[in-house]
Symmetry: C2
Subunit: 532 residues, 2 copies
């Protein structure tokens, strides 16, 4: 029996914060923002009054289909469940939630949906921050297909270093199955514990590697996708030049073409050699200029993450004026000592400061050289990035993250415009707040900046409207400044207006036509990426 | 005035071999294969009798549209022009060849084709070995649109390291325009001198880098494509996770969606640091096992090319039993001494032999360390890979190359099956011949082997039929053994039957629907990739 996930925060029921934790957090935030916050009581499942299901699964499917309140409430949302759960707000739940245990059951439920003309919402880990798994406003009944029972590593090819993996496996469980064989997928989005392989592929997830193979895209060797017209399975190939890549149309398709059931993924030997340094810079600009210099040298470090002065102060204890660049290399079999020395030399040439004693080189021995440093403190902070969200539920904190990518020539202007627009929105909506930035991924031709904002709740307006106002201001600024509406958070329902501005209109037409070819009735995730 | 290209070989008219060269080659081949070969006379342009053009361009387009015999004959073929030119075989030439000098002229000619219902064949360098630019058998008039007048680097962004480049520029001319700025695209397919940027993008060309960013795909920042329904232009972005990548539908589209007019390409600083070694192995298997070990360590060498014993003997002077692995690193600003030392250590651990004195390390100084070696000899041989083809025109030599990619677990069986099938076909068709192999590109999950075959002409059957018989046998074996029909030669008209077996049928339907969305009348390169 799998542990039950929380209905109102990202994590397990067993990880939900105590009433005391919530009260303590409320007191702390009240002091910080000069307001008076009280954690609201969160309605129990028994109190929820959901719209009755508009259809019932037939007996042949009843063994893996659910219509109870918890299932329908849980699958009403992704990461944004918190903001809705505290108000008991479930106006549009799925009518049925299917948990197929095999591809045969998956096909059976999709056939049934086709026969009955249901909307179908594929559901992985439910960590979408953009409404990618939220049912649409649609007169048709809604069936959410949760992949969580398809969670096995089916096959490992240790010569080619690839594994055939079911799409519904969560990150930690996937790594648990690869570890005994000495392998790892090494894809660690911040949502790692709460997201699945299929979700990563469907949303072009951004992971562990800060440079080079940043997205899951490069790790997909082949995919197996069930569409309303049948199976779409690509050949296992290390590379090909035969027409447009069929995998690349599935990767990022966000459930509109079909349901990913499994994939052959490129895996790798577990790293034993590591080298890391945290380099301080006198200013944000000095930091990002040096970061550009390092990434353009194409050493492809696994880690190359830059924190702005505010974040470096809060997360790594710097003085508030300095930026921090984390550089890290790793390998299963080769010392990274020479690489870190070269990268640090480039960073120092750009004004970076790091003591030799703070360059950590681990050549697979038990004891690494170099002192524990700011890097360790920041990493710990990053891994716990979701902490506090649950405890803050319902307190009215306007907080969120958004991210983009932009070419270097436009980056300083984008940064200025996005910070100004977000701050202005926070000032207007919350009477103040803060914005900070880090680079999660970096390319030779530009960075992928990731912004976090906080503002206190100002009573009189609905929290969700306030969040939306801040987010819209930031999104408008991103698109106007030449960025992408998302580097790795996907489009979902929330980013759709800006996505429509970013992509070529004729590509939208082509994608809609491609969808219609495999999903002629338009059942799958309607309104996401294409269509009204 | 641009130098005129040869009508019957890949290169310029000025590079055509003399009658004496042709006679000498014929004598040499006669001796080698025990036959009597005579170089036939190649018909002059004045002797060619082409079908009269089925339509004439209007006055508004006449300034850049041609209907003369040379233009129509030249644009009848790609790389296979030689085999047809010697017989004066031009049964299906384009009716008009347009050379637009601006995007306005490009749009004007495509509008005219739409109005008149013409087939449109985009034409880059004409180096296709798979019939990708050969007009189809189609009752509609045919207009070939040659991009050669659109050959400028329009803009360089030296901060982001990207350049906006017109699609019709040939490789050397492109590098000539980047060099004064200290940059290079560093994409050198073997066809470099005879192919264009637009062709590389349309066909997913494989280039200089043997590992990591092997295909042009990774160098495309944005593309600008003219479809019958208008422009499709993507945003310049270093990375994005917003839906399926719109560039990836254009890359590899082989002219069926539209005509690529320009692209923003990722460029880079010119390398100054290099390190190279040629490592010998006692057998083909020892060589490919070591090659796998090196690529799976993910150092991403620029060069990692393996030659089988026959090729290593013929090209690099080895003894015929040994395989040769060429390892090369390069960088604009970092010494590659440590990298080559680590890679050579891995190769030696797999039984590889190389003298320390033969490891060449060039740290940007005038004099490199290390002796000239087999690597240099092989590189010279590779760069002249097309030489001899022109001189051999019409001699009836059955010769060709084909390539694939396959996962490592299937590689030894694929190699055995492909060699056996090709040899059997050569025996049957030519009464004997040879097949050799090298890896042009290598991935952690599998190699991209490249085969070259030669057989002497046996009279009594048509040369083209013989070529087709050998090629078909090899292609059948590749598909049956789990490979791709092409790693970087594209699909064109020749690979279509095997491409149809390789790709998912539903992807074919999706691609056809995407094409119909932007090219509703089906004007562009009909029969390539999709359609009858």
């Amino acid at each position: 029996m799998k542990p039950r996930r929380s209905l109102w925060m990202l994590g397990l029921e067993s990880e939900e914060p105590s009433e005391q934790s919530r009260a303590e957090l409320a007191a702390g935030l009240s002091q910080r923002f000069g307001v008076t916050l009280q954690p609201p009581r969160i309605p129990s499942v028994a109190e929820l009054q959901l719209r009755p299901p508009r259809l019932s699964p037939p007996d042949t499917l009843a063994g893996f289909c659910r219509t109870d309140t918890w299932e329908r409430a849980y699958h009403s949302y992704g990461y944004d469940r918190t903001d809705h759960a505290v108000f008991g707000h479930y106006p549009n739940p799925p009518d049925v939630v299917a948990h197929p245990r095999s591809e045969a059951e998956l096909a059976a439920v999709l056939d049934w949906c086709s026969d009955r003309g249901c909307c179908v919402i594929p559901y992985g880990g439910g960590s979408s921050v953009v409404g990618g798994v939220t049912p649409p406003e649609d007169p048709r009944p809604i069936v959410t297909v949760a992949l969580d029972e398809l969670d096995q590593v089916l096959e490992i090819d240790d010569v080619s270093r690839a594994a055939r993996i079911q799409a519904g496996v969560f990150g930690p469980h996937l790594e648990d199955q690869l570890r005994p064989h000495g392998f790892t997928l090494r894809h660690f989005p911040q949502s790692f514990a709460a997201s699945t392989l299929g979700g990563w592929i469907a949303t072009r997830s951004g992971g562990h590697y800060a440079t080079n193979h940043t997205h899951i895209d490069d790790m997909v060797e082949s995919v197996r996708l069930l569409t309303p017209r049948g199976w779409w399975e690509t050949r296992r190939l290390p590379g090909s030049g035969a027409g447009p890549d069929p995998n690349r149309l599935v990767i990022g398709s966000e459930g509109i073409l079909g349901i990913i059931s499994q994939a052959w993924m490129r895996i790798q030997a577990r790293p034993r050699f590591r080298a890391t340094a945290g380099v301080r810079f006198a200013s944000w600009q000095a930091g990002f200029d040096a970061c550009r210099h390092v990434v353009q040298a194409k050493q492809w470090p696994a880690n190359l993450r830059l924190l702005d002065p505010e974040l470096a102060a809060g997360s790594a204890g710097l003085d508030g004026s300095q930026a921090l660049l984390i550089i890290g290399f790793e390998s299963a079999e080769l010392s990274q000592a020479a690489n870190i020395a070269q990268a640090v030399a480039m960073a120092r040439a750009g004004g970076g400061v790091v003591d030799d004693a703070d360059i950590v080189v681990d050549d697979g021995a038990e004891q690494a050289t170099g002192r524990p440093s700011a890097v360790g403190r920041w990493r710990q902070s990053f891994a716990g990035g979701g902490a506090g969200i649950g405890a803050a539920a319902g307190l009215g904190l306007v907080a969120g993250t958004f991210e983009t990518a932009v070419t270097w020539d436009r980056w300083p202007a984008l940064d200025a415009a996005v910070r100004a627009a977000t701050q202005a929105a926070l000032d207007a909506v919350c009477g103040g707040g803060t914005v900070n930035c880090r680079f999660t991924h970096v390319y030779p031709d530009g960075p992928a900046p990731y912004y976090t904002y906080f503002g206190a709740f100002r009573s009189g307006a609905h929290l969700l409207d306030q969040q939306a106002a801040v987010k819209a201001a930031a999104s408008d600024a991103i698109i106007a400044a030449g960025g992408t509406i998302t580097h790795h958070h996907a489009v979902g329902r929330q980013h759709r207006p800006w996505y429509d501005q970013e992509r070529p209109t004729l590509f939208a037409d082509a994608l809609a036509a491609a969808k219609a070819a495999v999903d002629p009735a338009g059942l799958l995730n309607p309104g996401v990426l294409v269509g009204p």
